[in-house]
Structure formats: C-alpha cells, structure tokens
Amino acid sequence: MAFEVQMPNIGISIAEGTIEKWLKKEGERVEKGESLVVIMTDKVTIEIPAEVSGILLKIFSPPGSKVRVGETIALIGSPEESQEALSEKREAKLPSTIEVSASQKIKDLRISPLARRIAAEYGLDMNEVTRKYPGQKIGKEEILSFVTQKKDQEKVLEEVVKEGIKDKEEIKPLSGTLRAMAEHMALSVRTAARVTTMAEVDMTELEKLRNALKENFQKEYGTPLTFLPFVIKAMAEGIKIYPILNASLRNQEIVLHRAVNVGIAVDTGESLLVPVVKNVESKNILELSREINHLVTKAREGKLTLEDIKGGTISLTNAGVYGALLATPIIHQPQSAILWMGKVMETPVVREGKIVIRSMMYLCLSYDHRLIRGAQAVQFLQVVKKKLEDPYLLLF
C-alpha cells in the first residue's frame, strides 16, 4: 500500500497552507527524513520531510494549490505501486480533533442559499451563526431563530443599560476647547510614530540648589523658583547637540527650528493649555521663571492670547506635582518630542557599592520615530539628565 503524504498539522491555528514547491519529482527516490516539499502558511514557510523512504509515486497538489491539514498531497511507495497510484482516486481526510478557524468552518456547513440571503439582509455575522449551530444544517428556520434570539438579547441589554445608569449619568457636550483637545490627541496618535523612552534623574543636587535659593528668589523677584526653568535649560543643552529633537515633519521635509520654544502644559481645571516660552536658549533661569509664571497665571485666568500658544517647537509637562511616576505622553503636533517630568521622591539607590537615599525623578520623553531615531532620543535624554544631576552650570 502506498504511503499517503498528508499536509501536516503545523500549528494550532493553521488550517491550510499553499504548496510552494516540490523538492522531489514524481518517480524520484526519496529517503526518510529528506526534505520533500516546501509549504507556505500565513505564519511560516516550512520544509516538510518525508516520513518514509520510497519512490515519490504521485504528486496530487501541484505548486500553488491550497491544501487543508490532513489532506493527502502525494504518495510514496514501491516502484510496483506506481501504476496503482496513477489510477487511485484521492480523498481528503480531515482529522476530527484539529481546531479550525471560524471562516474555515463555514465551507463545511450546509447553509441553504435562502439562509445566506436572510443572513445578508439582517447583516448577520455568519461566523456567529455557525458557532451557534456547529456542524449542523442551517436553513431559514435556524437563521430566523438566530435573529429572534439576537433581538431578544439586544432588548435585554437595552433594558439593563437603561435601568442601571438612570440616575448616575451627567451629560456634557464635547465642545470648544475640549473638542479641540479630543481631536488633537487622536490626530497626534494617528500621525506620529510615537515612542517613549525614560531616564531616571538624581535630583538631589538640584533639590539642594533650589532649596538654597528659593526663599530669596521669591523675595527678590516675586516669582517662585521651580524645577521647570532648570529642566528647560537642560533641554536646550540637549537640543544643541541633538537638534532633531527640536524639529517638525512638514510635507516630507524635516524642518529644524532654530529657536527652542518650549510649550508648557498647564491644566487649568477646565482644560489643557500649552503656552509657549520662546527662545529659551537665550534666556537665563530668572527670565525663564518669570515667563513661566506669567504664562501659567494667564492660562489659569483664561487670558492667553494666540501668540502665547503659537510657535512651540518642543513641549514639557510636569505631572510629578500630581504624584505621577511614569507616562507615555502624546506629542503636541506639529512638534516631534515632548518631555514629561514625574514626581521627585526619596529613593534608595546604589552609589559606589553602598545603598544611599537620593531624590529620584523619572523623565519620560515621547518622540516621533518618523524623524528621530531611538539613539538620538535616548542620548538627548541622557544629556538632559546629566545637566540636571550637575545643575550648577545651568545657572549661567
């Protein structure tokens, strides 16, 4: 009896494959274990070895033909059997325990044309229907019963929904700035190839510095001293070395902005606004502090002008004040990067073999991978980190 070569069960969810090419010809001798045929599936392309030695008597499935798992695709046997093999009819054998995909199942079921038509009219998903009647004949009766059941289910759901939320809902229209934000966020995610990289920053020194200065600063200049101007300066330093972080993709062109205009994300309670501190590269800590304070106040009072929010080239968010640790911020279009600051917290770390307590903070940088490479982003972030860890030079 000739040995039936069958399409093997390659994987749980693979039900069929396509013959790419036969490595042996009809009439050729094949040894057990030798590669016999190359089969393509939507997951992998594999070479199938011969399970027995003999003559490849007949190839039933030529290159390009689709074969189901378990289907006989060739015969291997003795030379005497070759005549027999030529006149033998081949039958596809489907193993009963294999799991087939839902779409495969439809071909095997007896669905009447009328049932198909009704299903189409009701916009039913035939997969759903066939799952309900596995291996069974599906006619008009079964389809209509399915439709009725579905309708009943939907009715119940509706009732449940109505019941449950009656007094617990408040409806707010999505209009104005909220709507703009919604649309902008969705657009940004759709457009940019956003990747987020993170670095941990040892803020102990900067903390010390700030603590030393803040009281006098406030008294002298009437402006609070936050970490923000330091971070901004550090960003500017990073951009000097990696200007691509301060660029935009415009019509297939990379536009490198000469000025570094940092947008500061401000949550006003009502909405999110991003006023821009312009030309940070030429401003010192004092100037930056003043400007930040000015803009944030304006934002909170709803007095920002168009000028205030235009022209940003990179953005900065300080969510650490709210206690957040890490984030994957969304880039503010048409910028290509956004830096996010987490909370500063006392953390045990290892320094020179010893465990010490330092004030640590995470910086999260989301960047647009369409123009910024991972290496650039990561290294930029390292620059920012290093500047912040040794902040004294930022004062000048």
Binding site: S112, P113, L114, R116, G139
Partner: protein, 327 residues
C-alpha cells in the same frame, strides 16, 4: 357547473373553433370514424357536422400529414393535424422541427404557419413501448414551436381553442389516460386560456410541486396526504411548456423555498431539468433545500401493468420526496 371528460372538452374546442373559422380543418388517421371519432373519441361527430372536406382521413403517413399541413397553413388554411400517438412524432419530426418551426424564419417573418399538431401521449393504459411515451423533451429545444400540455378538461378546452387561434405551430400534448377517465368542470360559456400562463392548482406555503400532464393529479393526491401531516404543498401546473411561465414558477419558489418537479418522462434529459436549471439560476436565493426532480426511470415503458405501475412516478414517491426536503 357541468362536468365533462377530457376528451369531450377537446371535442367541444374543435367544434367551436371549426364553427368560428372555416379555415380550420382536422386531418389525421381515423379522424372521420375511428372509435367514436378518432382513436380516443376526440373527433366525435365532427364528420357529421362539418363534412369530409373539413375532417380528412389520411393514409398512414405521419410525415406527409405534418408536411401537407405546413403547405396548407402557408396557403391560408389552419390545419389541426393529429398524430395518433406521440411516439409517432418521430416520423413527423422533420416537418414539425425543420419545416413548421422554421418556415416563418425562412420567410424572414413574412409568412406564418398556423398549425396545431395534436397528439396522445403518456402511459398507464398498458400500451407499452411505442404507444406510451412522453416525448415533449424531443421538441422543447426547437425554437419556433409552442408546446402545450393541459391536465384538466377546463385547461384542455381553453388551451386548444387558443392553440388553434395562434398563428404559430403548436404541439398539443393530450394525456391518453385522462381522455375518458378524468371529468372536470367546464363552463358552458365560451372562454379561452392564454398560452404561456401557468396555473396554481393548489395553494400552499411549505413546498412547490411543479407537475405536468397526469402527474398534476398525482401531485394533488400527494398534497392531500401531506396536509394531514401538517405540510401544505403548492401544486403548480405550467400548462404551457414553451413558452414557459417563468415568473409564476419563480414566485412560487420564492414563496415556499422548496421545490419538487414531477413529470412522466424519464428524469434524465427530461424537461424537468430545464425548470430545475431556471430555478437554480434565477431563484437560487429562494431555496432552503435542494431541488428534487421526479420522473420515470431511464428505460422504455414496460408492457405488463405491474411493471408499468412501478415505472410511473406517483403520489407515494412525491410524498417521500416532500418529507425529505422538509426535514
């Protein structure tokens, strides 16, 4: 309403049309005397009423009967030519298919051939091989002919009158079993039935049985029994095979979504195949079950009555098929 036999209904039709139009004449073998007017009594009394010039006996010459009818029809007459047994259509085939069917075409539409070829077909009377066939399938594929097969006296009379009035060659199949055995209501007043219109003999919602000739009655019997089992069958009688009432058939299948086709001719190559193909092509999405055809087995009609009964499609077979497609 009065009830008359199938043969009597045909006789009335002939009589009325011969009175109405003096160009109509009857020609064939033994039509003058026969056994009470023709072999089956259909031409009874016509000789006495209309004389030998309008009721013409011929020698045994089917080809010449058909051929001379073509010539006469071309030259202003309206012959009703009888081919005694449908089996003998084979002898007249040349003039029915090659001459009559194509004459108008040869004249490029400038002449017509208004003939009715009447013929007795069908089994069930023990007439065996050469006197029992249902050869409608020999002719349906010939463009230029109209083919009619009534199943009741009412249909027979109305359709024969229409056939005689039609200017095309018509082959009119009369089931010999029904001639004297089937009585049915036929109005006294004049009426005609249009050619090409099917008739729903029984309405139903569960399946459609399309039947012709004597099989219409088998279908109706089957429908009665199915009713007791809660299955309501619709019985559709095409009445005219060519031109076929496609709309009626498709509408019925749309309504019931299941169909059985029954005819006496052998299933293979029978006219049922054409109807099945039509439904499969144009009524595919109406179908909730496969189309079933019931015809005779692929053999000549056997002689002995026992064998003939096994041979003929009947109500029991229809019932069985109906239950199968209903499940």
């Amino acid at each position: 309403m009065r009830e008359i036999t199938f043969a009597e209904a045909l006789n009335e039709a002939l009589r009325e049309e011969m009175l109405r139009d003096e160009r109509v004449y009857v020609i064939g073998e033994d039509v003058r005397v026969g056994y009470g007017g023709g072999a089956f009594g259909v031409t009874k009394g016509l000789l006495a009423q209309f004389g030998p010039e309008r009721v013409i006996d011929t020698p045994i010459s089917e080809s010449a009967i058909a051929g001379t009818s073509v010539g006469a029809a071309l030259w202003g007459m309206r012959p009703v030519a009888e081919i005694m047994f449908a089996d003998f259509l084979a002898l007249a085939m040349d003039h029915i298919a090659n001459s009559a069917a194509k004459m108008r075409f040869a004249y490029a539409g400038e002449a017509n051939v208004p003939i009715v070829f009447r013929t007795a077909f069908g089994a069930g009377v023990g007439a065996a091989l050469h006197h029992s066939q249902s050869p409608e399938a020999w002719l349906v594929n010939v463009p230029g002919l109209k083919i009619i097969m009534p199943s009741t006296p009412y249909d027979a009379k109305g359709l024969l009158k229409s056939a005689i009035r039609d200017d095309n060659p018509v082959v009119f199949f009369e089931h010999k079993y029904l001639y004297s055995r089937l009585k049915g209501p036929v109005p006294e007043e004049e009426y005609v039935i249009p050619i090409g219109k099917a008739d729903i003999k029984r309405e139903g919602k569960d399946l459609t049985i399309i039947a012709t000739g004597a099989m219409v009655h088998q279908a109706l019997s089957a429908a009665e029994i199915l009713k007791e089992e809660g299955i309501e069958a619709e019985v559709l009688d095409p009445r005219t095979l060519v031109p076929l009432d496609r709309e009626a058939i498709l509408m019925s299948v749309e309504k019931t979504s299941r169909v059985i086709i029954v005819h006496e001719a052998p299933t293979f190559g029978g006219f049922g195949g054409e109807i099945a193909a039509l439904i499969a092509e144009e009524g595919f999405y109406s179908l909730d079950a496969p189309i079933k055809r019931i015809g005779a087995p692929f053999m000549p009609v056997p002689a002995s009555p026992i064998l003939e009964q096994i041979y003929l499609p009947k109500a029991e077979i229809i019932i069985k098929a109906a239950k199968e497609i209903m499940s």
